[in-house]
Symmetry: C2
Subunit: 703 residues, 2 copies
């Protein structure tokens, strides 16, 4: 064991485990580990460490880690917070790969605890061991029968399978393990990262997914330290077709406050997480059962091609409920082709409906084979990416139905059986046959949506090739931090191809009049130029719609007088004269630092309504053209972008180009950029151009 | 049996049942009824009707209804569509109260079937019997062991209880029955209304809820014939504290299309259903399991007082998930009072969190009694209306926990136990103790939201007293149908107190100039007056912002010239001169006929964004002040109504007054009104006034 990758491997696939502080009482928390490992048949070496005991469950007990004869991959530390530090040092001396620290009493307790945790992390770093925890309930690798946890999970049967879970909540880990067991699907790995003094969820995901038996990576997240790392591993898995299905709590203001008090971590704006997760193919779940539904979908179904859902049911009412849910999620319910409808007429009664949803009619209660025949035809339709068949009860015919659905796997197109009030044995048998089954209509649609969304994100990623190299570093750092002067900012932005309205700086009324002439026939706006005054309107520093020389001259003088009165101490560098643009749709575009994900680009509908409806979308940099198009498509006010009340549709490609240029600028200036606001941008059919901008360089570090 | 109420009673609480077309084969669809009634121990008289058989399951068989010796409350008709007509006639002759028709082959098959159904309905009316169906799978009254269905329900044990279901989908009825059984909660009544040739869901709800043992009325709806009737019965139940919990499918465009093709009924705009349902205290569920969750909540919990949820958990992460969900649903998570926090510090470990959510800490895993102690304190907080306690597993301590939670019922404040991965016996025992338990965190929050919303709607209703009497019938019918001329419309609207900008009608440029002077110093707008031209802008018929005599005169001439060119055939009655209003927030208010609910009032944010974001809300007439305030509170763009970008908050009470005036007008003109649009309304801190209006009288009926 040498490199850090190997040492992460030592956490989740240890060939030998020492249990420091093992108790001889197998019911005590620190007595359970040896018991669980023994009961589950862990095949590696087990070394209980306890100077006061000779033997635990037949294993020789050692007085210290140093006394252990063989190499130790993982040291499970079942000692108190106070004793954990020495144990980590000893682990380092022994050459242990990773330590797992159960003790609580660290960052979750506030300032004192946070200091203790920093010390723990430093000691581990110095000792050269990777550390999971503190405040972790443990690690399970069901494939290799590693059950290094004191939780309820150890009482459950070990059930290796294609799902894995990394969680920041120990309680939820235990719950998901039980629920997966009840569903009869295996959870191959379960890692609770606890306080993440060293090993983060991202590290754990990397370590777990190195095992290719893991097909779906589930994650239960509260706060994300390493957003960039999460995106990188999600990208890699996306290309492999292995999804991350994540619950992320702290969506609301109340929730975010609770996360902060619970974990001490800074909550990113949830909308940013949501958008960036989608950008990287992470499938977001609402709660643990939705997460397991999606995970089952991915485990049992092939990834779909482009298209919508085909719905076939025994009940018209349920067909409607599924169509509702599909539309709500933006999943198409395409009308079936004439050819498919013809084929359906050949197998279903004449009073069935054939368009999509297909109502196989009450006849399908008496003869449920109609559902299979109909589904087979529907899956042949080129517009159907995922099939859903809904039925209820059918206890007497359950076995035949299971066989029928299992047989339809041969078609090779994903489908989901939504079986309400299903006989429990039928659910079990279907899952054994690898058929995805949900117990209600809308849950099936939710799963289909997950499959379609992930597959679409994957195609987008594969088609667009690797992320572009960083653009040339033309983002010259401005000499000062804080607001960058308008003309200098314009130069920096224009150098990256960001379209800005023509802007000149006047130092006198006469110069302003001359400049306004060069910008004619468009009217001009005059704005005071002062890096001390980011809010120019409030100090009377702005005059709009000026056309005539007298007006421009007067405006220049008025501005100086107003500003002098309102902000006598402000340093005024002049007045900018800007060419005004004809009216159009107002948009806002910007860059900002997200605490989890770093620099993100923002696009929103502007004007007075932006604050009321907050129609905005975010992407992590770099933003490539297809991602910029996806940003535009995210806006809820789509109708404003198209032909609207007689004005032509706005030039989407020009907007896409602007977004990419902003992204380039953000990548190039990442080292010094604090914030960029292009607000408003005027978008029309013939132009997309920023008419005002605020660029802020961050404070120089004291270092 | 005489009045129609009695005859509805005959459907759901029959004292004697005839089964017309009963088969001696107890497995055939029409052989099941006698079998089910016998097996379930139906205590009334059972009369199989079949001329070819002497006896079925020990019951004497009669050749016809007429031959039955005693009175018959309910005749179940197990004959084909073709034979059903005669059976209904015979039932009438026999004096039967109600018939239940299973046969399909009616309206669900299109035009021919619809005619057959109309004939069936007419025959039943003429025969003086109420009719359930056709195409119904049956009626169950578990209290009285009436199992008049051929569905799977007859194979389940009869389990009377506080829930009842009326459904327009037979399949869903069967599913809900099984799911309720699995949850161990009784479904007292189950009525599938089928094609509703006569008895509608509203009739069925009235008949069922006459039984006071029914505490929660569930409904699964596809299309609603009698929206007014639904509102009236919902109002009555609301006052009694008995909720209707309804799933209504057809929310989406695709879904609405599917409903139309499935039931032939016209789908109302879903948003109207949603708003009107809330107005009348109907609690809307997403799907059948959400419906059962809510129903369990109402069955086991007292109705809460005003307030939010108090959350206590074993897990910080789950606390956050619940807080997220609460905020999403608009449920407060109030900070606990200093007194409550002090009390919690007395019972929980020092490292717990006390604000709300309360994280009882990992200590509550070892000692789950902490959860009970904490919950008891939390329920004492005046701001907590509903408590939720979350825990997981605890298999070894399940019995003690059940007893602890059961004991907390004594506090008399509603609470929900959210128990993830619960031992199944614990769920069962809790329900037996009348404790509401859900198996996940967010489902518990959803239930709390339902309880709080219904209780709030009830208080609002009780506080506001009975619905007002109809206002004086000042809504004089205009002499013509179609667009009502501006000045006449203004007269009608102003008579009901709807504030309109001052408007005059000019027949010459000179007159327009004079009128503009009387409206000064405000500028005026000139608009062509012609009932042929509802869209005046498109024909060049509008000029805005006119201040000077020359401008007004010129505008008058320009308008006439433009309109003459664009619409030479239009009849022009002059040009209206309107006082323009200073800028403010643009709103739209209107009246329209909804196919289910009749006249509804609409309020929305106006301007160019209204079409893009569709921020609108509806209420059924009459709209009383507190309902008008609720409409205002429904708007998503709340921020636009308050102090916003330096302008003062708009005068909400003036807007409320306007909405009530519009409602009065709508009630008074219900007989002839087709549509009213006040668009825009200018809302400011000092005024709320309509500056344009379109009033349309409906076409006179040919009759």
């Amino acid at each position: 064991m040498s490199g850090p990758a190997d040492r992460l491997d030592a956490l989740v696939r240890p060939r030998s485990i020492a249990v420091v502080g093992a108790s001889a009482d197998p019911d005590k928390l620190n007595g359970r580990i040896v018991r669980f490992l023994t009961e589950k048949g862990y095949p590696g070496a087990i070394y209980p460490i306890n100077p006061k005991v000779a033997e635990i469950l037949g294993y020789r007990c050692y007085p210290s880690l140093a006394a252990v004869p063989g190499p130790v991959d993982l040291a499970v530390i079942g000692l108190s917070a106070a004793q954990a530090l020495d144990a980590v040092r000893e682990a380092g001396a022994k050459g242990v790969g990773a330590v797992l620290v159960f003790a609580s009493g660290f960052a979750e307790l506030g300032t004192e605890g946070r200091k203790a945790q920093e010390t723990l992390a430093r000691v581990a770093r110095e000792a050269g061991v990777r550390l999971c925890g503190p405040n972790s309930v443990g690690v399970v690798n069901a494939f290799d029968r590693v059950v290094a946890t004191f939780s309820q999970v150890g009482n459950n049967p070990v059930n290796p399978g294609p799902l894995a879970l990394v969680t920041q909540s120990g309680a939820i880990g235990t719950v998901v393990n039980t629920l997966a067991n009840r569903r009869g699907i295996g959870l191959g790995y379960l890692v609770h990262t606890g306080n993440e003094a060293d090993i983060t969820v991202v590290d754990a995901i990397a370590a777990i997914t190195a095992d290719e038996r893991v097909r779906v990576m589930c994650a239960y997240l509260e706060g994300i330290r390493d957003g960039g790392g999460l995106c990188r591993i999600a990208d890699a898995l996306l290309e492999q077709g292995r999804p991350i299905v994540a619950v992320k709590v702290g969506r609301s203001e109340t929730g975010a406050r609770a996360v902060a008090s619970h974990t001490g971590s800074l909550a990113a704006e949830d909308r940013v997480f949501d958008d960036v997760a989608r950008q990287h193919g992470i499938v977001r779940a609402r709660n643990e059962s939705h997460m397991l539904d999606l995970a089952e979908g991915f485990a049992y179904c092939e990834l779909p091609a482009e298209g919508g859902v085909g719905l076939i049911t025994q009940s018209g009412g349920t067909a409607v409920l599924m169509a509702d849910r599909a539309e709500e999620l933006g999943v198409a319910v395409p009308t079936l082709s004439a050819h498919t409808q013809q084929a359906l007429r050949g197998v279903l009664p004449p009073y069935a409906s054939f368009g999509n949803p297909v109502d196989a009619s009450m006849q399908a209660v008496a003869d449920p084979s109609l559902l299979g025949k109909g589904l087979a035809q529907m899956l042949g339709d080129p517009n159907v990416a995922v099939g859903i068949v809904w039925l209820q009860h059918m206890d007497a015919k359950a076995d035949a139905l299971v066989d029928m659905f299992a047989d339809l796997k041969r078609i090779g197109k994903p489908f989901i059986v939504a079986w309400a009030a299903a006989p429990l044995q039928a659910l079990e048998r279907l899952r054994k046959h690898g058929v995805c089954v949900m117990e209600s209509a809308d849950r099936a649609v939710d799963v289909a949506h997950g499959l379609i969304s992930f597959a679409r994100a994957r195609r987008l990623r594969l088609e667009s090739g690797p992320r572009p190299a960083a653009p040339p570093p033309a983002g010259v750092r401005p000499p000062h931090s804080g607001v960058v002067p308008t003309m200098r900012a314009a130069g920096l932005l224009a150098a990256h191809g960001i379209p800005l309205t023509r802007t000149l700086l006047a130092h006198s009324a006469a110069q302003a009049v001359e400049q306004a002439k060069t910008l004619a026939p468009q009217p001009v706006a005059l704005k005071v130029e002062s890096t001390d005054l980011p809010h120019k309107t409030e100090v009377g520093g702005v005059r709009l719609g000026l056309r005539e020389a007298a007006g421009v001259s007067q405006a220049y003088d008025d501005i100086l007088a107003s500003v002098l009165a309102a902000a006598p101490a402000a340093n005024i560098e002049g007045v900018v004269v800007q060419q005004m643009q004809d009216a159009g749709l107002e948009l806002v575009v910007g860059l900002r630092k997200d605490p989890s994900f770093g620099m993100v680009a923002m696009l929103g509908i502007g004007g007075v309504f932006v604050e009321a409806y907050r129609d905005v979308t975010f992407r992590r940099l770099p933003v490539r053209p297809q991602e910029a198009r996806a940003m535009v498509a995210d806006l809820r006010g789509q109708r404003l972008l198209g032909v609207f009340r007689g004005r032509a549709a706005i030039d989407i490609e020009a907007l896409v180009k602007l977004l990419c240029a902003v992204s380039d600028f953000g990548v190039a200036s990442d080292a010094w950029l604090e914030e960029l606001d292009l607000n408003p941008i005027i978008a029309r059919s013939d132009t997309v151009i920023a008419v005002d901008w605020l660029l802020i360089a961050k404070q120089e570090d004291a270092t």
